[in-house]
Every structure is written in structure tokens, then in C-alpha cells.
């Protein structure tokens, strides 16, 4: 009964977000347009050296590589800003005085964002398949596992960034750092193997690299056994970052409540 009650609350969070979202008609149009043009503009970027690296690593072409990278980058972007969206101090105060737990609040506040991101990913992939002829052989279980680990890791980063933001009110270095690191070293637009050796080292210690490596492989039909080393590293990173994020967020929230600065912007 309690679970049903919580599920129903989550439904109302989502319903609230759908109604709010549907009123921003221009924004919906722009978001859809961005997805379409994002796919179109990057599809022609392929360089010969990049192509060779992509072929060596994934046995596919650069268009396929790029479309998968862009599509799932939106997912990670959603996860990265997820917790921040819930720390609007006014909304946070209203929820903290209600008999609803913070976990329900965070999950409920984010679920619609993920559904929308799924739709955007689907647009990217459908365009890739039907307009650019990319061939996907999706390992569904593998995809779900890699997605869960990637989203989890980025929610961990989001909690660290949001915790800092609760205290600093402005300026979240973690989110900015992760966004830049993902663009430069994350294996989103080009494989790290085209980078200078020193920068390649940075790429190999960042979670986005492992996420994008694994997600591409499972979408191209690789089995879990085949990606196991990268998957284990991603799992380890997720297992460290999520609890660290939760602790940082909780400590920062507690500190802000104690200092009476929660409602400050």
C-alpha cells in the first residue's frame, strides 16, 4: 500500500511536469529542431583519421559512432542536471515540510526529464537508421545495464555539484567540469585515440569514456562478456561516485538547513 502510495506520488510529479512542459510550445519545437539539426550537422564531420580509429575500435563508420555519441550525450546531460533541478530552494522548502521523502521528490522530479530524453535519443537513432543507413544490432540487456550505470554515475556527479551549489548558491564547478570533460575526453564526438598521448591518459580515467565505449558496443551487438573490462571499470566508478555524491549532497543540505541558508538563492 505504501509503495502504491509512493508510485502514485511519482505519477503526480510526472503529470505536473508534462503539463508544465506542454505549455512551453516554442521550447518543444526548438528542442526537436536541435535534435534533428544536431544529427544532420554532425553526420558529415567524418575525418579520415577519425574514421580509421572508429573502425579499429568499433568496426563501424564515423556516422554511426557520432549519432550514438550525440544521442546518449543528451541522456547524460539530463542526469547531470537532474538533482540541480530539484534544489530550487522554494520548491525544496515546500517539499521538506511535507510528509514526502527527499528520494521520492528527486525521482519524481526527474522521471519526466528521462522520458523526454528517451524520445530525443529515439529521434537521433531513427534518423540515423532511416536517413543515414546506420546499422544497429542492439543488445537490449547490455544497453539497459550500461545506461543504468552511466545514468547512476552522472546522477552521482549531479549530487556532488548540487550539494556544492546549495552552499555556494551560484557556480557549480563539478557540472561545468564534467560537461567539458565529456566533450573533450568523453568519446562523444571522436575517439580519444586521436588525442595526444597525455590527453588520452585523462580520457581513460573519466567515466564518460567508459560509458560511451560500452554503449556503442552493446548497440552494435557486442555481448557483455566482450565489453566486460570496460563495463567493470564503469561499474566501479559508479559504485564510488554514487555514494560519494549522496554523502556530499546530504552533508551540504544539512549544513544549509543548520545555517538557515536553504532558501537563499
Amino acid at each position: 500500500m505504501a509503495v502504491l502510495n509512493e508510485l502514485e506520488k511519482i505519477w503526480y510529479f510526472m503529470k505536473r511536469d508534462i503539463v508544465s512542459f506542454s505549455t512551453y510550445k516554442t521550447n518543444i519545437f526548438v528542442l526537436l529542431l536541435t535534435a534533428v539539426f544536431g544529427a544532420l550537422s554532425f553526420a558529415f564531420v567524418g575525418q579520415s583519421s577519425i574514421n580509421q580509429s572508429v573502425t579499429n575500435a568499433y568496426d563501424t563508420n564515423y556516422t554511426t559512432y557520432l549519432i550514438i555519441g550525440l544521442a546518449f550525450n543528451t541522456y547524460l546531460g539530463q542526469a547531470l542536471t537532474l538533482v540541480q533541478k530539484t534544489i530550487n530552494p522554494w520548491a525544496l522548502e515546500e517539499v521538506l515540510v511535507s510528509p514526502t521523502g527527499l528520494a521520492t521528490f528527486i525521482i519524481g522530479s526527474s522521471i519526466w526529464g528521462f522520458i523526454w530524453s528517451t524520445a530525443v535519443v529515439a529521434i537521433y537513432l531513427l534518423l540515423g537508421v532511416y536517413a543515414f543507413g546506420i546499422i544497429l544490432t542492439i543488445n537490449v540487456v547490455g544497453t539497459l545495464i550500461v545506461l543504468a550505470l552511466g545514468i547512476g554515475t552522472f546522477i552521482g556527479f549531479s549530487m556532488i555539484g548540487s550539494g556544492i551549489l546549495i552552499l555556494t548558491k551560484q557556480g557549480d564547478p563539478i557540472t561545468a567540469l564534467i560537461t567539458i570533460a565529456t566533450s573533450l575526453f568523453g568519446n562523444v564526438l571522436f575517439p580519444p585515440s586521436v588525442l595526444p598521448p597525455l590527453l588520452q591518459i585523462i580520457a581513460y580515467v573519466t567515466p564518460p569514456y567508459y560509458f560511451f565505449t560500452c554503449i556503442r558496443h552493446v548497440l552494435l551487438g557486442w555481448t557483455i562478456q566482450m565489453i566486460l573490462p570496460d563495463l567493470l571499470i564503469l561499474t566501479l566508478m559508479c559504485a564510488i561516485i554514487v555514494p560519494v555524491g549522496y554523502v556530499v549532497y546530504s552533508v551540504c543540505l544539512k549544513t544549509a538547513r543548520k545555517n538557515g541558508t536553504l532558501s537563499w538563492f
Partner: protein, 336 residues
């Protein structure tokens, strides 16, 4: 838990640290500690409409935020409906409805009034079967039944505050805390909210903690008042008892006709008269003068009337000034 007290604070303390400039130099700062709530012991009985009166920065909002579990205390504790604000937070939250001073902040501006309340009804555990009925009921209670489906962003300031009040009432809590609910509202909206609190909320037997810095507002609707200054309760009683605490000279105002300046001078010499001043702040007829007299005691009043009678001075109007709650507030917050 059965208890006759709705709210009880026991030596409740909240301290805030802040940095202030320390001498010359941009970077030279020192940390100071401010006792925002300084050992408050307060009891609000069930069904009482308790007013917490205090100037800006007295600690009213801090106290409210502590009582609704938003701020952890640095010392002492408080019981809400018998539940401890530190150890039994979920029970406290179920017993309370809180309207913050800018209560409209947490709403979703693109949703209409009904959808906003539907969301809050879910997170406040209003039973699913009763939800629709309860939403329409509270919207009607606050007078928004004709604006149910208007988007929140189109609401006026008064309507937004009424919707916040409706949200507070939604889970039907036994205790309601209203933190400066009329601040920033026009006179009509303020009056509507005051009337609503005084009648509708009281009729349902709820306990209300009403914070305000408007003295007359507290005097008008509250059965008991606590005056808060620099985090301390400096007075606590009924509005009438607080007024009675003010030791004030007897003040009377007369409008008289045909009085000479020499007679005013002679009036000053009467026993028990402290001061006689002319007061012409109201429109008077030709030949009339306003006189303000301070007496040591009301016992000297017959001497004034005797003097007027003997001197054949016509008394047109007489008013004895009662101490107001404002007098009590100023006196109590000044002397402590």
C-alpha cells in the same frame, strides 16, 4: 498522542553565524554569532489563535521554520501536537500546515490552481478518494472557486496568497502556522485573509500560530499574543492584559468652547495635572479649542470638570485615551 498543548517550546535556541567587516581593508572580516531564537519557552493551547508579534528580524520566521522542522535547533526542543520536532519529524509534518511569508513561491506557474493543489494533495497524503472533493472545498473556502482553472501566473498577488492558504489547509492539519500572511497585500486582500482566519479556521477548532509585525492585525484577531524581540519572548498574554501592563498617565482630550488662554494656564495649576497642551489636529467650529490633558490619575478627572463648570466653559467633546496594543508593543520592546 493526547496533549492539551498544540505547540510547546522548551528553551528553544537557534544561532546563526555571519561575517562582518573588521576594521579597514576589504578582506578583514570577523565572524559573529547571532542568537536568532534565544531560549524561547512558549505554550500554545489547542484551539488558540496565537499571535507572534515582533519587529523585522525579531526571529519570527526562524521560529516558524524550526517548528515546521525546516531548521534544526541548536538547543532545546519543541513539541508539535505532542511530537518532538527533532525526533519525530514525520509526525510533526503530518500535524502541521505552514504558510511561509512568501507562500506563493513553491507553486508551478504554468499549472492552474486546481492542478497545483492536486500535486500538493498527493505529496501531503490527502486520500485519493477525497482529493477532488477536498481541493474544490478548500478553493471555495478561500474564495477561489471561480478561478479554479486559471493558470497560476495569471493570479493576482491576493489570489496567489489565497491559493497558498488553500494549500496549507489541504491536508486538514490540526495546527496551522501562518507566517506574515498579509505582508505585501492590499488592504482588501489583507482583510479577507484576516476574516478568513478569524472565522473559518477558528470554526473548525484548529490551532493557529499567526506571526505578524502589524500590531492592529494581531490585536484584532488573536486571543493570545507573544511579543518577540531579538529572539526572546518579552511579553505573553491576551491583548487586553498586555494593554493593561502599560503604566501610562491618564490622557484625556477635550473640545471646549469659550476658553481663554489665562484659563488654560490656571488649569495647569490644578492638583494632579501634569501637562495641558492645545491640540488642534481636528476641524473645530469657530470659538472651539482642542485641549490635551495629562493627569497623574483618573481620580483627578472630577477636578477638571469642576473647573470647567466654575469657569462657565462649555464642554463640547470629551475623550479618554486608552492604551493601545501599539503602546504596549513599543513600551515592551523598548524597555527590554
Amino acid at each position: 498522542m493526547q496533549t492539551e498543548n498544540a505547540i510547546e517550546t522548551i528553551n528553544l535556541i537557534k544561532k546563526f553565524k555571519s561575517t562582518v567587516p573588521n576594521g579597514n581593508g576589504f578582506l578583514r572580516r570577523k565572524t559573529i554569532t547571532v542568537n536568532a531564537v534565544d531560549g524561547i519557552n512558549l505554550t500554545v493551547k489547542k484551539g488558540e489563535l496565537f499571535g507572534l508579534l515582533g519587529p523585522n528580524g525579531a526571529g519570527k520566521t526562524t521560529l516558524v521554520k524550526m517548528l515546521c522542522t525546516l531548521l534544526p535547533p541548536d538547543g532545546g526542543t519543541a513539541l508539535i501536537n505532542g511530537f518532538d520536532i527533532v525526533k519525530q519529524q514525520m509526525q510533526v509534518k503530518r500535524s502541521l500546515g505552514t504558510l511561509f511569508s512568501v507562500g506563493e513561491r513553491g507553486f508551478f506557474w504554468r499549472l492552474n490552481g486546481y492542478r497545483n493543489l492536486e500535486f500538493f494533495a498527493a505529496i501531503y497524503n490527502v486520500p485519493r478518494q477525497k482529493r477532488n472533493e477536498r481541493i474544490l472545498e478548500v478553493l471555495k473556502l478561500v474564495g477561489l472557486e471561480n478561478n479554479t482553472y486559471m493558470t497560476f501566473q495569471k493570479y493576482s498577488g491576493g489570489m496567489k496568497r489565497k491559493l497558498a492558504l488553500a494549500r496549507t489547509l489541504l491536508p486538514d492539519p490540526p495546527i496551522i502556522m501562518l507566517d506574515e500572511p498579509t505582508t505585501g497585500l492590499d488592504a482588501i486582500s489583507s482583510r479577507t485573509i484576516r476574516d478568513f482566519v478569524q472565522t473559518t479556521v477558528r470554526e473548525t477548532g484548529k490551532t493557529v500560530l499567526y506571526t505578524t509585525h502589524y500590531i492592529e492585525e494581531a490585536a484584532q484577531i488573536c486571543t493570545k499574543i507573544g511579543i518577540l524581540k531579538q529572539g526572546k519572548i518579552v511579553a505573553y498574554d491576551s491583548p487586553e492584559a498586555l494593554k493593561a501592563k502599560i503604566k501610562k498617565d491618564e490622557q484625556i482630550e477635550l473640545v471646549v468652547e469659550g476658553i481663554e488662554q489665562t484659563q488654560i494656564e490656571r488649569m495647569r495649576m490644578l492638583p494632579g495635572v501634569i501637562e495641558v497642551t492645545e491640540k488642534n489636529d481636528q476641524p473645530l467650529m469657530a470659538g472651539q479649542r482642542g485641549i490635551h490633558i495629562e493627569l497623574q490619575s483618573v481620580d483627578q478627572l472630577p477636578l477638571i470638570f469642576d473647573f470647567l463648570f466654575e469657569q462657565k466653559i462649555k464642554l463640547v467633546n470629551f475623550k479618554r485615551e486608552e492604551p493601545t496594543l501599539e503602546d504596549a508593543f513599543i513600551e515592551l520592546t523598548r524597555k527590554t
